[in-house]
Subunit: 210 residues, 2 copies
DNA sequence: CGAGTACAGTTGAACGCTCGTTAAGCTACT
DNA sequence: AGTAGCTTAACGAGCGTTCAACTGTACTCG
């Protein structure tokens, strides 16, 4: 056979497709092994069981997501608006380009047993905090003017996550355009007002002004 | 035994809680029967099987949702902004007050077999159209000014749906306040500009003006 | 009016099947 | 000789579903 990927990766890919398409409990390990083109027992040669396969997918997905966010944030500097744009852009890109992984992260994590679920929820919290801290920073400096930062954050995150469900690479909107657009939507939700020398409103800025 | 609800309703309630909490495939009909306080065979006296229980929950949930929307729209008149507010308000209320049913509608519909799934997807499409037609009407009359009506619609729907996941009735924000707030967020996303006598843009109004 | 009957409501036991997992062993390369 | 990679076969458990049988109640009919 032509040098196809090692069973290891073939199994991850197959499990990914099956879990995303039908859900963890609706997928049998026989389905996964068949799609990966290996026997049932070969699966157990690489992974100790079905749960381990899910856990591996969830952690790999989270690793890739945080890597993308960290990259974007490293280029973003200190401006809260830029940092928020970096996180929104990275999230939209990830949801679109890795929609299968995203669907698993979003829908299948609840199949984790409690001992693994705690660690996963912590990573989810960290992801939420990427949004939260950029938003809070912008509120503090007065560039984000929404009276409802928590609801705006939830809305922004929900909008980004939904991209995984409807985006198709052959659709009418190129991904880079879409990412820009979602940054704009986020700014709109947050009541983004560019800082101008004459119109600062945060108390610290006002104090510095006079 | 004191007049407890008929087995019929007890089974629906039990199935609802189990499906929402653990997912359709992770729930056994023995779990459902036990929670409902009836025997396994009694379940089959009321429903022909597990799938029928899910289908009944999905249809009941959709019926209740559309009833709420229809009520709100009947009181809303013809103004697109009012109609959009009615749909957003009804959706937020439903997601908050019937979060268990909402979680099933949102997450478990994919467990339907293909013959039932088609009819369900059609009802989902009708629900989406409640938003779409209000938004399109507002765009047509010029009160909604967003350049991205499709993305705004998806964002609004995703935000409303997410309410089912986080809202708790004992939380800090009363439901009516929350519903108002989400209407405001939707208006913000749509670039809502109230019509003023000097800035009408619909042709009929413009004709009357001159 | 009372016997007969039908049927809704419920039960415990079982069926056949698929599930996740394990065991034992074979091949080929190092 | 050892081990990575993979095979066939099987295990026990749990699944959705079915079955035969037993209640009580309500309705029919001589």
């Amino acid at each position: 056979m032509a040098g196809r990927p090692a069973g290891h990766q073939a199994l991850l890919d197959a499990a990914s497709a099956e879990f995303a398409g039908r859900g963890y409990y609706a997928t049998s390990i026989r389905d996964i092994a068949a799609r990966a083109g290996v026997s049932l027992s070969a699966l157990y040669h690489y992974y100790p069981g079905k749960q381990a396969l899910l856990a591996a997918l969830l952690h790999e997905g989270m690793d890739a997501y945080f890597a993308l966010c960290d990259d974007a944030l490293a280029q973003a500097g200190r401006d809260p608006a830029g940092r928020l744009a970096a996180v929104v852009g990275a999230t939209v890109r990830y949801r679109a380009e890795r929609s299968v992984a995203s669907l698993i992260l979003i829908n299948e994590a609840r199949a984790l047993p409690e001992n693994l679920a705690a660690a996963y929820r912590e990573r989810e919290r960290q992801a939420t905090d990427l949004f939260r801290s950029a938003i809070n920073a912008g509120i503090a400096t007065g560039i984000f003017t929404t009276p409802y930062p928590d609801d705006a954050r939830r809305t922004i995150i929900a909008a980004c996550n939904a991209v995984a469900q409807w985006y198709r690479p052959d659709g009418p909107v190129p991904l880079e355009v879409l990412a820009e657009r979602y940054v704009t939507l986020a700014y709109t939700l947050l009541g983004y007002r560019r800082r101008t020398p004459l119109a600062r409103s945060s108390s610290a800025a006002a104090a510095a002004q006079h």
